[in-house]
């Protein structure tokens, strides 16, 4: 079955509600929609930050996300997936990333949204730079994010669980 899949890398803000609506409009097979929105926080640890700047690898970012969306649709009975990742300068309070999953039932929608976010964190070629107190520094990758992504490789972690 072909399901609606949208993957976009863009500088502009997105409208999470409009994107979620697009996955359900005019159909009555969707019973569950999970929307994850990642937002730029105003501090990293205890340090206030002025902004994040996201760099990405054009072409590869889309391809890598599309691969993981394809894997998600093969693992869970999804009825639609939308992933949007912004790049460029993003101020505290602004959205960074959106993942929307639609399915007949909640388990698949939740699992697929978590799966996609875990892989976006560790495999999608984006890099965050923090602007704080006039200085810029690159965000370091977190071991916890690797661990979160690895759990999906454990035997039995799929639609059958």
């Amino acid at each position: 079955m072909t399901i609606p899949v949208t993957v976009r890398i863009q500088r502009e803000p997105f409208d999470a509600a409009a994107e979620a609506k697009m996955l359900t409009r005019g159909r009555t097979d969707v019973g569950a929609v999970v929307t994850f929105t990642g937002i730029c926080r105003g501090s990293e640890g205890s340090e206030p930050i002025a902004a994040l700047t996201l760099e990405h690898y054009p072409g590869m970012a889309e391809a890598e996300i599309e691969r993981h969306v394809a894997e998600a649709t093969s693992r869970w009975p999804l009825l639609g997936v939308t992933v949007i990742h912004r790049y460029g300068r993003i101020a505290p309070g602004e959205d960074i990333v959106l993942a929307v999953t639609a399915s007949s039932h909640r388990e698949a929608a939740f699992a697929a949204a978590e799966f996609l976010m875990d892989f976006l964190k560790t495999r999608a070629p984006f890099w965050k730079q923090v602007e704080a107190a006039g200085a810029k520094s690159w965000v370091e990758a977190k071991a916890a994010d690797d661990t979160a992504a690895e759990r999906w490789n454990a035997p039995g972690r799929d639609a059958a669980e």
């Binding site: 760099e55 690898y57 072409g59 391809a63 964190k121 560790t122 984006f126 890099w127 690159w138």
Partner: protein
Amino acid sequence: MKLKIRYFAWVRERVGVPEEDVEVPASVRTVGELAAWLATRGEEYAHAFENPKVIRAAIDRTHVRPDAALGSASEIAFFPPMTGG
């Protein structure tokens, strides 16, 4: 062998350019060997590649491990661990 090499994030900052076309010796066969060879090209490269363990690579926009063969690759990228999402 002529390759397009791209750099991202602090690897790009240290190397000083976002991408370049490089003539790579035929003896360089893997991505790891390419990183080691690049590190010999000057101080900025030595700095960028000083800790091979934290350098990630892609061949033609697909993640690869250091032992991946360059084969007929046309674009190799080096970058730090990803921090998107």
